[in-house]
Symmetry: C2
Subunit: 202 residues, 2 copies
């Protein structure tokens, strides 16, 4: 069916997004990124950034517009999006929004083997997660409120935080239900699916 994406790293979407506004060199992208908190939605590492920029270049979605140098520092290559790049940005975005993709979050994988920790072990781990989730939610909520209530940016520009919070809350809810079910015995723990106590937190 649809052939594999020419650039698959999502960082490429972010780069295209930044370049919609103005041409930039990679290091400036990284700075812009962190400044706007985009690095909570995209995984940014310097290595990947340069690789991704090169991939976009090969695909013809961006182009180098100038190479400058100040003093004896390394050259800075400034990139801009091409018309093709703009089109692809929108098409990619549309596809990502439209189609739920199979993802493999670590927690989902771990839950698959929940039984292996034994009732006590599982409950303890989940309690720790529950506490951590609360902190994450509080922090994200606070940040969001600061930006929106402070009029620093329109709500649309931080809408992804609302999504993230909602998902964290859902996870928290589930985790707490399962803790309760373990404690009350509502979740049956079959024989042989358990662990000698104390084997884990050594």
């Amino acid at each position: 069916m649809s052939t594999r994406r020419r650039v698959s790293n999502l960082l490429g979407l972010a780069v295209l997004g930044l370049l919609q506004e103005s041409p930039m060199h990679p290091h400036a992208m990284a700075a812009a990124f962190r400044e706007r908190g985009l690095d909570s939605a995209f995984k940014l590492t310097t290595g990947s950034l340069y690789d991704t920029v090169n991939a976009l270049l090969r695909a013809g979605w961006i182009s180098a517009v100038e190479i400058t140098r100040s003093g004896n520092r390394p050259e800075r290559t400034v990139y801009a999006h091409t018309p093709l790049g703009r089109q692809e940005f929108l098409r990619w975005l549309d596809e990502l929004l439209r189609t739920p993709a199979a993802e493999y979050p670590k927690f989902l994988s771990a839950v698959t083997y929940l039984g292996a920790l034994g009732k006590e072990g599982a409950a303890a781990a989940l309690r720790a997660r529950s506490a951590a989730l609360r902190t994450l939610i509080d922090d994200a909520r606070r940040d969001h409120a600061r930006v929106v209530d402070g009029g620093l940016a329109p709500r649309l520009f931080v809408i992804e935080v609302e999504y993230a919070v909602r998902m964290y809350e859902a996870e928290l809810g589930w985790v707490e239900e399962i803790i309760t079910e373990i404690e009350t015995g509502a979740l049956e723990w079959p024989q042989g699916v358990a662990t000698e106590a104390g084997e884990v937190r050594g």
Copy 2:
């Protein structure tokens, strides 16, 4: 702080999990995997499987127990977990459950640029997603019910499906709220954050 995991691919967790039960060769693992539907929680590709097994071997968490051959087929190397491997399995599991890790789901990244599609474009894409999510949820629910109500396996063994469904539902809820907010105008769409109509679905 804590040094990087020796084996980072989560597939390694699944392999360790399978080997808790009995020694196996990689091809059999792949089969067991699919048979139990583990491949919805772990990303399985043949290449990665062999790489992962090798990594586990290097780390000393599994060991080769025999090499058999039937007829002139390729050799089959059968692996078993080591005591260290069992310990690591539990430790890893515990850590994954306990600590929410930064993940970068595609949808979160895409939502960050929701504005770029314009009100109409964004609403259309989200409507499509909403429909797709409903299907996913229905399918997962049906599967879960078949297994549990049919007594094919204890509920604990398919608990991850409950988690997945819960998360899909949360996402669906959010998506539908945003669609409504776009339609009613409750979500303000700042000037200049829009797209010429028809640019996307070419």
